[in-house]
């Protein structure tokens, strides 16, 4: 029975930089020798380990015997067009591409704000705090919808970039 390639990804809640790729393919192909992963970003660059962006394609190795692989990829919430190739020697036998979003950096940041709010409600319970929280949450929502409903890498990353700006300038917003 030939392989029907598929995979999924998940981001670690405790270490947001780590992304796990899991092979969810059905069927079998005993001739396969390796897998490789490439991740295209909205800016046209390729994502390397540690969040490094490269202008040339970067492949992450995924041993054919491993059902999943964890890679240190992120430094911020990111959307990427992920392609996994199932290789037979040097030949790319099967390919699957999925638009993936890893946005836990934003959630964890918002949760951190909330934790501050629970400890010191008077410090942060003001209109600016809430307005900017709403904005961040709306951006997150937009980003997720752009992936789920529109398959739109650019809109999704643009939403996350708006949040990244607010996170990096957080003293101005919260």
């Amino acid at each position: 029975m030939p392989l029907t390639p598929n995979f999924s990804t998940s981001e670690s809640l405790s270490s947001n930089n780590l992304v796990t790729f899991s092979d969810t393919s059905t069927g079998d192909d005993i001739l396969l020798t390796s897998r490789r992963i490439s991740i295209l970003l909205a800016n046209g660059k390729w994502l390397d380990t540690g969040g490094v962006e490269s202008t040339t394609i970067v492949y992450h190795t995924w041993a054919i015997g491993d059902a999943s692989v964890e890679i240190n990829l992120l430094t911020k919430s990111t959307v990427g067009l992920v392609t996994v190739d199932w290789m037979t020697g040097a030949v790319d036998t099967y390919t699957k591409t999925i638009l993936c979003e890893w946005d836990l950096y934003d959630y964890v940041f918002l949760f951190g704000l909330l934790s501050t709010q629970t400890s010191y409600p008077a410090r942060t319970d003001n209109q600016g705090y809430w307005q900017n929280s709403f904005k961040m949450i709306t951006n997150l929502f937009q980003s997720e919808q752009a992936v789920e409903l529109m398959d739109d890498l650019y809109s999704s990353q643009a939403s996350l970039d708006r949040n990244f700006y607010m996170i990096s300038k957080q003293s101005n917003f919260f």
């Binding site: 809640l13 405790s14 959630y107 949760f111 909330l114 709010q117 629970t118």
Partner: protein, 173 residues
């Protein structure tokens, strides 16, 4: 306090209920944060994501309790929809006891000839309307005809006393 799971299942409903109240404005003199429904949703949105990934995430209980505080009375009301932690009894139309409508006689009427006081237990807690001979009576005791009513004890008195053949209406209102 409800569990984190119950708080999170009630939060979206609480947001809706808060939104309903906000839209009523200050018509009934209430004070309500015009952003409350949004605050509930925004807080829920973040906590739910984290909770789904790890229900034991550090700080999750404090965050849920904070959300519960935000939800306030709407969290309680939301339980009527989710079934968590009991339910809120529906509002039922008030049903006052049936009135006493009678013609005074010497022995069998609700108040008999010459009687000027009566404990009406069924009317306790209500106000009283007293109509005598088709004329609504008042409690002003400087008038020739008046009555008194104690809604706590149910004691009704009238002056002058009942007279045979009078048409009487005693109604709880």
């Amino acid at each position: 306090m409800p569990t984190n799971a119950i708080i999170l299942s009630n939060a979206p409903i609480a947001s809706v209920l808060a939104g309903n109240d906000i839209s009523k404005g200050s018509l009934y003199g209430q004070r309500i944060d015009p952003l409350l429904d949004q605050k509930i949703y925004a807080t829920y949105f973040v906590i739910k994501k984290i909770y789904d990934l790890n229900p034991n995430y550090s700080g999750i209980t404090a965050a849920c309790l904070y959300l519960w505080e935000l939800m306030g009375k709407y969290g309680i009301q939301a339980q009527a929809y989710t079934g968590g932690g009991g339910s809120i009894a529906g509002i039922t139309a008030g049903s006052a006891p049936l009135p006493y409508n009678f013609i005074v006689d010497a022995s069998t009427s609700f108040m008999i000839d010459g009687e000027s006081s009566k404990t009406i237990s069924a009317f306790i807690g209500y106000n009283l309307l007293f109509v005598r001979g088709g004329v609504v009576q008042s409690t002003v005791n400087t008038e020739s005809s008046y009555y008194s009513w104690n809604k706590t004890t149910g004691l009704f008195t009238c002056s002058p006393a009942m007279v045979t053949s009078e048409l009487i209406l005693l109604a709880a209102i």
